[in-house]
């Protein structure tokens, strides 16, 4: 099963274009639904290519890491010195994730309180699903829970049905 990154319709494996919205489900450059976003999302930074890849330099302080909520183009900056918890805040249970998707429609989108962990180690970004109720998807493919899976800058991460995109920019010195 794949989930369309544009309209979150469920599609059979092997589907090339989403039968609901017509978006391409195979990787051919940046996802179409977010093309407009790139320009808008970068304005708060010194000009740098939106898709700049990591250098060998693995000190995270050289990068600005952000998760973009694609549906409303909101940008969540992430302080990724080691790892961050992605989820939905529930103060009564004392769960305060580093990245709280509650204000971004997380409840309706089926984001779990403790949904996934985003980490950066040895120059590699990883996402680990914490056994969430509705799963985590990278570029439309569901990842195995409890196993850190590599993600690249620009990849789409779906928590439940909430579509996020990982953005990394080099900080100029």
């Amino acid at each position: 099963m794949i989930v369309c990154p544009n309209c979150v319709a469920k599609q059979l494996d092997g589907t090339i274009f989403c039968t609901e919205c017509g978006a391409s489900l195979i990787d051919t450059g940046p996802p179409e639904s977010t093309r407009e976003l790139d320009a808008a999302a970068v304005v708060s930074h010194e000009p740098s290519p939106a898709s700049s890849l990591l250098s060998d330099d693995n000190a995270p302080s050289d990068h600005i890491v952000a998760l973009i909520v694609v549906s409303n183009r909101r940008r969540i900056e992430v302080n990724l010195s080691d790892e961050v918890l992605i989820g939905r805040a529930d103060p009564t249970r004392g769960i305060i994730p580093d990245v709280d998707l509650g204000p971004f429609g997380g409840y309706d989108a089926g984001v779990s309180r403790r949904h996934a962990i985003l980490s950066y180690r040895d120059g590699t970004y990883r996402v680990e699903d914490l056994g969430s109720a509705n799963g985590t998807f990278i570029n439309g493919r569901r990842i195995e829970p409890m196993r850190a899976t590599t993600v690249q800058p620009g990849d789409e991460i779906i928590c439940g049905t909430l579509l996020l995109r990982l953005e990394v920019h080099h900080r100029k010195r």
């Binding site: 059979l12 494996d13 090339i16 919205c21 017509g22």
Partner: protein, 425 residues
């Protein structure tokens, strides 16, 4: 070489990763004639032109149409039959069905046609169907070619009924719309059958070429009543079958009995390629090579007095461990699928417009634009974007934009590209 049809299959992926879920695979089936042109005589044509001569045709349009009709007369041989019916508020036979021998008399009659009056298409269709059935042909191709520029009011259902009656007797219909006033729903409904199609002529200058191309295509028909049956392995499903070459047309496919699907594909010319895209749901299968589909193409070759010729093709699928499988998709399959997706998106957009869901309609057209841009049709992509915006602003698309999109996504704005494309990019 025995004359016949050659089949070629291309899968979206030749290998699939083993999975505990069913998967989708796309099969592109391309057919072309083999050893026909050299060996088989042409089938005689029995053609009836049905021309709108309402007052809106006056001027450039009628001039071009008369020119086009005269050119058709030139194209026909002594074994071909020709007739011509005109209509406005009433219908008249200008040239009764006869062999194309006294060509100068025919052209003189064509030159006399004048534009006046309203548009009552059913009268013209009824008279034309009567005329085209006069000649007795044992193995020829009978066809109506209708040209109109306006809406017919009140007799739409009769037009459809007459078209169906002809089609049920093997008489195909080519319906050509010129300008922006004609009713594309009506022409598409009248031609929703194999051996029939509607086409949009955007400018009068294209009329002559569109007519000439159509007659050339009809002259090239060699295989008749092409019939496809598909037998699937247990658990597999045919999700859809569509024609993609030379133009896009959805095809009715029915599961006649369990795991046996059938579709009629009409008559085929020996020029160019007939291409079909089949979406197949592959069941869960273990590692190994498996037969997936058995295709059987059955057709007649009337010029060789051969009936029920059969061509079979087996489609196999290879299941491999996930680590050995790439996600690469065949570029040719992707190209034709992308065009088909654009066509489907615009069709669902008009549905949404009719239901008043304008935001969804606009979104569909926009995505169709992205698809057309990706296959390289920049002009149509631009039209799609424009109409997507217009729908949001004013709640409706322009007459011309809608026609360009409906027929453009199918590849049916005349003159139709000669479809010599052999491989995708």
């Amino acid at each position: 070489m025995t004359p016949g049809i050659n089949l070629q299959q291309t899968l979206s992926r030749t290998m699939l990763a083993v999975s505990d879920e069913p998967q989708l695979i796309y099969v592109l089936l391309e057919a072309h004639a083999e050893g026909v042109a050299q060996q088989l005589p042409k089938l005689p044509l029995n053609l009836c032109l049905v021309l709108d001569r309402s007052s809106s045709m006056r001027g450039e349009r009628l001039m071009q149409v008369k020119e086009a009709a005269a050119r058709i007369v030139d194209q026909l041989g002594p074994d071909d039959y020709f007739s011509l019916v005109v209509f406005n508020d009433r219908a008249d036979v200008v040239i009764p069905a006869q062999r194309a021998i006294k060509k100068s008399d025919m052209k003189a009659a064509i030159a006399q046609i004048e534009a006046a009056g309203g548009t009552e298409m059913a009268q013209g269709m009824a008279l034309a169907l009567q005329e085209v059935q006069r000649p007795f042909l044992t193995r020829g191709i009978s066809r109506l070619i209708l040209l109109t520029d306006g809406r017919t009011y009140g007799d739409e259902s009769r037009c459809v009924e007459i078209a169906r009656r002809g089609q049920s007797r093997g008489i195909g219909l080519t319906a050509l719309g010129i300008g922006t006033e004609w009713n594309e729903d009506l022409l598409e409904t009248m031609t929703a059958s194999e051996n029939s199609r509607a086409q949009y002529i955007a400018t009068a200058q294209d009329v002559v070429k569109v007519f000439a191309d159509e007659v050339k295509r009809l002259h090239a028909i060699f295989a008749r009543q092409v019939h496809l049956s598909l037998e699937t392995r247990p658990g597999a499903l045919i999700r859809s079958l569509d024609q993609v070459r030379p133009f896009i047309a959805p095809i009715t496919i029915v599961e006649e009995e369990e795991r046996r699907w059938a579709a009629n594909l009409g008559d085929w010319p020996d020029t160019g390629v007939q291409g079909f895209l089949i979406e197949v749901v592959v069941p869960v299968l273990p590692v190994g090579d498996h037969p997936l589909l058995k295709l059987t193409l059955r057709y007649h070759l009337p010029a060789a007095n051969l009936r029920d010729q059969v061509r079979e093709e087996l489609i196999r699928i290879s299941m491999r461990p996930a680590a050995e499988v790439t996600q690469r998709v065949d570029a040719t399959v992707r190209h034709w699928l992308e065009r088909l997706v654009a066509y489907r998106l615009q069709a669902s957009a008009w549905q949404h417009v009719a239901e008043g869901r304008l935001a969804e309609a606009s979104e569909r057209l926009r995505m169709a634009g992205t698809r057309m841009l990706s296959v390289g049709d920049t002009a149509l992509a631009h039209t799609l974007q424009q109409e997507a915006t217009r729908i949001l602003r004013s709640g409706t698309a322009s007459e011309e934009g809608r026609k360009r999109i409906r027929f453009g996504t199918r590849g049916l704005i005349g003159p139709v590209a000669s479809d010599e494309r052999e491989t995708g990019t």
